[in-house]
């Protein structure tokens, strides 16, 4: 038996299974202090665009009940951190998986940080793969028996960089179906959230 611990494996180059939050925070701090900021397309006459995010479903709205939504966690220069927030309360989740689409000419996926809704790390396996330009596949596998949350919490935090001045949608694809964006109970039964329960938002560069 190989004693490799769940959550520490490495996949293909496009797949990342690791804790990256410290690096992201350091990067944000560095940019906020005037460092960094290089790289990426610059379509603004030499000035890097400033990122922002507007959720399609606010946390106080009715659409937030029994949902998975993207919410803004923070911005720093051209980077925006987006939480995938789980608001399916008191229900053991065996695995959460979702497919996110965005315009790769406007937004570039950077990294992820583990959230707390499904146990955090270690014990929970996070696998994020940029399967195609503009497509991000996320699978979050809590410990055996699944995890539940009593309050809305982020499952994962995704960091995007805006590449140009534009507004682009970030959406969940193929919701509530196998191999799409869906939640499963610990036995593997799909738990549909219903129409409109998976909502993304808009990333803007200005």
């Amino acid at each position: 038996m190989n004693g490799r611990t769940p959550g520490t494996t490495r996949g293909t180059p496009a797949t990342r299974v690791a804790l990256v939050l410290p690096a992201v925070l350091l990067s944000l701090w560095s940019m906020a202090c005037g460092g960094g900021g290089g790289g990426g397309d610059d379509h603004n006459g030499g000035v890097a665009p400033v990122a922002d995010f507007a959720p399609s479903c606010d946390t106080g709205a009715g659409c937030f009940a029994s949902s998975v939504t993207l919410q803004k966690r923070g911005v720093a220069g051209g980077l925006v951190l987006v939480d995938a927030v789980l608001n399916k309360l008191g229900t053991p989740i065996g695995v959460a998986s979702f497919v996110i689409h965005f315009d790769p000419s406007a937004v570039d996926y950077q990294s992820y940080a583990t959230g707390t809704a499904l146990g955090g790390s270690p014990g929970t396996v996070y696998t994020v793969t940029e399967s195609a330009p503009g497509e991000l596949v996320v699978t979050i596998l809590p410990p055996a028996g699944g995890m539940s949350t009593s309050t809305a919490k982020p499952m994962i935090t995704l960091t995007f960089a805006v590449l140009k001045i534009a507004v682009t949608g970030v959406t969940f694809e193929n919701t509530d179906i196998l191999n799409g964006s869906a939640l499963y109970d610990p036995a593997g039964t799909l738990m549909p959230l219903g129409a409109g329960a998976w909502s993304g938002g808009l990333i803007s560069g200005s």
Binding site: G3, T5, S97, V137, A182
Partner: protein
């Protein structure tokens, strides 16, 4: 000790008297020659009551013995430094306490020195595949068969995972075979080599007879990427991971241990008999891949 035929020692294979009349070669793994050395040939025989010693005769033609060695009361002997691919004929006589030889020889033992394996082509294939392989080496007899399950960690619990459909010696140095790798076949690598052996005279590997083992990683069972799509849904994600999680830590278990109800060969992607992090690593490596009959692709 009389001079009658009934006192002639009966050469045999160790522990397998049924094969006395066959070639009778006994190749002992511990006496395996180095590659640069000539081969070895071992034999054993039944003790004869009243015998104080034995004389072992050998030659390269049937019934024509050109050499002999006189032994004490021991009932086994190994010839060493024999030229490869030369058939030897061996028989034994008993010696009584007065130094008299039995009139008759034992049954004649016929065979080649211990086979050795030096290579196999191709050097690997995915789980679940059927293919033709060519094995090269020395001392392959006409009934030689390959064996891929020596030192296989799952053989004791799951059983052989590479089946030999047919085989045939092309020459003393080449053996062709058709083999089928089980879908759950153990995925080995350089650090966990799969020994390719050749067994002469169709003997069973468990006897330790007629076996040539190659210490190196001669043949690799490769991961069949389709297996990452555990639920056969066409893409590696969500439920595939959950199925791994629900079987994590389970092992096939070696009889007489009771079977582990959580174990699933479908989730044991590398086929080593346990569902562990190695299987997860294989799963993660194919995450988000789409799968069809040819495999799982980015």
């Amino acid at each position: 000790m009389a001079r009658s035929n009934r006192h002639a020692p009966r050469a045999r294979l160790r522990l397998r008297s049924r094969e006395v009349a066959l070639a009778g070669l006994l190749v002992v793994a511990a006496l395996a020659p180095r590659a640069a050395e000539a081969g070895s040939l071992s034999l054993a025989w039944d003790a004869v009551a009243g015998a104080s010693g034995y004389r072992v005769y050998s030659g390269t033609s049937p019934g024509v013995y050109t050499g002999s060695v006189t032994l004490g009361a021991q009932t086994s002997y190994t010839f060493t430094n024999l030229p490869d691919c030369q058939t030897y004929y061996v028989a034994v006589k008993a010696i009584d306490s007065q130094g008299r030889l039995s009139a008759a020889y034992s049954n004649q033992i016929i065979g080649l020195p211990k086979p050795t394996v030096t290579g196999i082509t191709p050097t690997g294939s995915p789980q679940g595949s059927t293919l033709n392989v060519t094995i090269t080496g020395t001392n392959f007899d006409t009934q030689a068969r390959p064996d891929f399950n020596l030192l296989n960690p799952i053989e004791q619990s799951i059983g052989p995972d590479i089946a030999v459909n047919s085989s045939g010696s092309v020459s003393c140095t080449q053996l062709n075979a058709s083999i089928t790798l089980a879908p759950h076949a153990w995925v080995n690598d350089a650090t966990r080599p799969r020994v390719v052996a050749v067994v002469n005279q169709a003997r069973q590997a468990s006897d330790g007879n007629g076996i040539a083992g190659s210490a190196g990683d001669k043949f690799r069972v490769l991961f069949d990427t389709r297996r990452a799509d555990i639920d056969a849904s066409g893409r590696v994600m969500d439920r595939d991971f959950l199925l791994w999680r629900n079987a994590f830590g389970s092992a096939h278990g070696t009889p007489p241990l009771p079977p582990d109800p959580n174990y699933s060969a479908a989730v044991d992607l590398n086929g080593d008999g346990i569902v562990d992090g190695v299987d997860l690593a294989l799963l993660v490596s194919k995450h988000a891949f789409t799968c069809d009959a040819t495999g799982c692709h980015p």
